[in-house]
């Protein structure tokens, strides 16, 4: 195990404007992922640096953010500190973004108020031999995530009306099969065929392989 390096903290830059829609209160969680991240990146050091950024209400290292205790801790912080933006520095969002979005929903926040920083696949795992540089990179990645989180807005997935009927273009064997399957499942089907009869090329065939039976 490598000893976590102490992060040299450069001055936090100003120039970030507060968000337009009310007070932003960001919670930052830097996940250790057991030792997956923590053996290379000084997670607690990064968290401490983030605590000094504007609008960050809570910043802390966390053992496993995705675990149930981890998620509970974040949910409790959301309630206690009135957090309205969450930054999780952990694994790839391609892995756990859905997990944390669910967590936000459970905590009563819009799921799009989450931002993740990829500290595992794109940092600790690929810079194992340079912990200091990895920590500097993690610092940047989480700081960028905080900057982005400050600007995040609630989004809703609009509901669209669904007309429960289908159009099938072409009345050959494929069109007929698709139409029958949908119709047998209770859906209305409109079939459009250019020729005077349905059947397509299949109807012209004699025997068909591999069973050698008639096509019609």
């Amino acid at each position: 195990m490598t000893t976590p390096t102490v992060l040299s903290m450069p001055g936090v830059s100003p120039g970030v404007l507060p968000s337009a829609d009310g007070e932003v209160r960001i919670g930052v969680y830097v996940c250790h992922c057991g030792m997956n991240i923590a053996q290379t990146v000084d997670c607690d050091g990064v968290a401490a640096a983030m605590a000094k950024l504007p609008d960050v209400a809570v910043a802390k290292g966390i053992g496993y953010a995705c675990s149930e205790p981890g998620q509970r801790e974040i949910r409790e912080d959301i309630a206690t500190h009135g957090l309205n933006r969450i930054v999780v520095g952990s694994c790839s969002p391609r892995l756990h973004e859905p997990t944390f979005r669910q967590m936000l929903i459970a905590a009563g926040l819009n799921p799009y108020l989450l931002e993740m920083a990829n500290l595992r696949e794109q940092c600790s795992w690929v810079h194992m031999k340079t912990p200091e540089a990895a920590t500097a990179k993690a610092y940047d990645l989480v700081k960028m995530a905080v900057a982005r989180a400050r600007r995040l807005q609630s989004l809703t997935e609009p509901m669209l009306p669904m007309t429960q009927r289908a159009l099938v273009i072409g009345g050959g064997v494929a069109g007929i099969q698709a139409a029958l399957d949908m119709a047998d499942n209770g859906y209305e089907v409109v079939m459009v065929e250019r020729q005077p009869s349905i059947g397509g090329v299949m109807a012209q065939l004699d025997k068909t392989f591999p069973t050698m039976d008639c096509s019609i």
Binding site: G11, S13, V16, P93, E121, Q122, V126, H127, M128, D140, L141, M144, A147, R148, R151, L152, Q153, E157, P158, L160, P161, M162, T163, Q164, R165, A166, L167, I169, G170, G171, G172, V173, A174, G175, I176, A178, A179, M182, D184, N185, Y187, E188, V189, M191, V192, E193, Q195, P196, S197, I198, G199, V201, M202, A203, L205, K207, T208, P210, M212, S215
Partner: protein
């Protein structure tokens, strides 16, 4: 066929074509033109009295012109709907004084010369495209002599000749003398597997179709001499190899090599010259009949439908699926599905399988009266829009309406938008907001990155689906690479605005890397074409302004290319080291 015809929930419009499709998943508004049949489809009992009296004789399309029909006819005995049809172009009866014999013969009075084309409007939630195929026209391959020699047929014509319902009641005859041929040759890959002579792809069905035909012939005429000229026999499906073995056992002679030349002899027989590539010999065969196993080509209306519905075609002209392995029946446009040969050459079993899959995919959307749409979509700030039309031009999904001529500002059809962000990147007036990947969000990320020690860093834009996933894969594989790059994730590389790049250079970054899916693999159809164009454009501008264009890099990295991602990172770091503090300072001065 008949099941579909009598199904209470299936409405069949024959002699019909889709002429317009508007809207999006859940509410497609479809316009269908139904040509006049001139026969009341419901009243007609297909008694055939009308055809008996019709004086017009024309080649029968269903039998590939090998028999004749009248101007009023039934396409084939089992046709659905079971009603006669009158071809108005051929009929004399448009002026009933001239003929109208059929009308007199029809007891049920179903024939109406004044029937006109109808336009039908339908609203549907999903669409299955099952437009089928066109058989290859072998006339271009002149060496086979199709149409020059009467006894050279296509596989589809042959199909009608051996069909019990065909013009000869299934008795195979030679067209030139109506006698049964003693020898038949089959030529494979006619119009397939050769870009120069037809299409470069394999048509999938012709090998098995020929094998089937040889078995049918051997069953009826065990003594017939049958030769098959082929490149390879592709008998890959379940039970296929078995049929091939059976065919060879019955004595069918398989000759490896395609005919180079066909000549007609005085008695109508055909002399076929073949280079036998297995035996290294030039052989001549005299055959009574030659059957060309013609390939499958996209259906005639494919292009028109593709444009009308905003779909995509693969390079061989068939419809392109959303993903070749994981979404093989979905179109990239939500709510549209493919079945059968519309998507590529396939046999009946595969067509049926794909059709059932398409039906289930459609049902999956239709089962509820509402569906959830994408939240990450773009929005137009109408006041800033100059109606230039650029956004609509770049949108891969036809999700933007705008009228540059009438100056009607752009409008996003949210339901059709998939959130690639290309429109926002290309809008010259900053009039499009890409939700969840707004300009402000991205600028703030760049600021956060470059506020401290910018010269140490490489700004990398990575698309969610490919290059960002490729970076993850490098991580999972524990590939070690220099730690100087910082990734900004966007859904698509098409989102990377030119101004982001200039801004980053102005803030002192040595290198900007834009990365995305390989051309052809873009998750948003072809949005990355615009990325490529844009990067090219910026590099040209950089050169003009005295900036080294190498400082802007473009890389295509797939989700599986972790190794490539690590290599690119190493290369980027070398490039970064080539950029001096002085060069950076000059750039900042130049751009400020």
């Amino acid at each position: 066929m008949t099941d579909a015809g009598r199904h209470p929930r299936i409405t069949i419009h024959t002699l019909s074509e889709v002429v317009d499709v508007k809207g999006n998943v859940g509410s497609f508004d479809v316009k269908i033109v139904k040509k006049a049949r001139y026969v009341d489809e419901k009243a007609c009992t297909a008694c055939g009295e009308c055809a008996k009296v019709c004086p017009v004789v024309r080649p029968d399309e269903f039998n590939m012109g090998l028999s004749s029909r009248h101007a009023i006819y039934s396409p084939f005995p089992q046709a659905v709907p079971s009603a006669y049809v009158l071809n108005s172009g051929e009929c004399l009866g448009n002026n009933p004084v001239v003929c109208s014999k059929c009308q007199d013969a029809c007891e049920k009075k179903c024939i109406d010369f004044h029937m006109s084309d109808e336009t039908i409007s339908e609203r549907v939630g999903t669409i299955v495209v099952a437009t089928g195929l066109t058989p290859h026209d072998p006339r271009a391959l002149d060496e086979y002599g199709y149409t020059r020699f009467e006894n050279v047929l296509t596989s589809l014509e042959f199909e009608r000749l051996v069909n019990a319902g065909g013009p000869t009641q299934g008795h195979l005859v030679r067209p030139s003398d109506r006698k049964r041929p003693r020898s038949v040759g089959f030529v494979q890959c006619v119009g397939s597997r050769s870009a120069r002579r037809g299409k470069s792809y394999c048509s999938n069905i012709c090998c098995m179709n020929t094998i089937k035909s040889t078995l049918v012939l051997k069953e009826h005429y065990p003594d017939m001499d049958i030769k098959v000229f082929y490149i390879d026999i592709r008998a890959f499906g379940k039970g296929f190899e078995d049929l091939y073995t059976r065919s060879r056992r019955t004595g069918v002679h398989y000759v490896r090599g395609l005919p180079g030349q066909v000549e007609q002899l005085a008695d109508g027989r055909l002399r076929v010259a073949v280079e036998n590539t297995a035996g290294q010999s030039l052989d001549f065969y005299d055959l009574d009949m030659l059957v060309l196993a013609v390939g499958i080509e996209p259906a005639a209306g494919t292009h028109k439908l593709q444009e009308m519905m905003g779909l995509q075609l693969s390079s061989d002209g068939f419809f392109l699926e959303a993903h070749p392995k994981l979404q093989p029946v979905d179109a990239a446009t939500r709510g549209v599905f493919y079945a059968g040969c519309a998507e590529g050459p396939k046999d009946i079993k595969e067509s049926v399988t794909q059709a059932s899959a398409a039906a289930v995919r459609a049902i999956r959307l239709m089962q509820s009266s509402q569906i959830r749409a994408e939240a990450i979509t773009s929005e137009v700030i109408t006041e800033q829009c100059k109606a230039c039309g650029k956004c609509a031009e770049v949108c891969p999904y036809n999700a933007i309406t705008v009228d540059p001529k009438k100056k009607i500002p752009a409008k996003i059809i949210t339901a059709a938008c998939t959130g690639c962000g290309t429109c926002a990147a290309e809008c010259p007036f900053g009039a499009i907001v890409m939700n969840h990947f707004t300009d402000r969000q991205i600028y703030d990320q760049i600021d956060a990155l470059l506020d401290e020690r910018p010269s140490d860093k490489i700004l990398t834009f990575a698309c969610n689906w490919c290059s960002y996933a490729g970076a993850d894969y490098a991580g999972v594989s524990r590939l070690q690479y220099p730690p100087n790059a910082r990734l900004i994730r966007t859904m698509c590389s098409g989102r990377v605005d030119e101004d982001f790049i200039w801004y980053a250079f102005k803030k002192g970054v040595p290198i900007v890397l834009v990365s995305g899916c390989h051309i052809g693999d873009c998750h948003y159809i072809d949005a990355n074409h615009w990325t490529a164009k844009r990067v090219d454009r910026v590099r040209k501008k950089m050169e003009k302004r005295g900036l080294r264009p190498e400082r802007l890099q473009l890389e295509w990295i797939s989700a599986a290319e972790g190794i490539l991602f690590a290599e690119v990172m190493t290369r980027m770091e070398q490039l970064r080291q080539s950029v001096s503090e002085k060069e950076i300072a000059e750039t900042i001065a130049l751009l400020s």
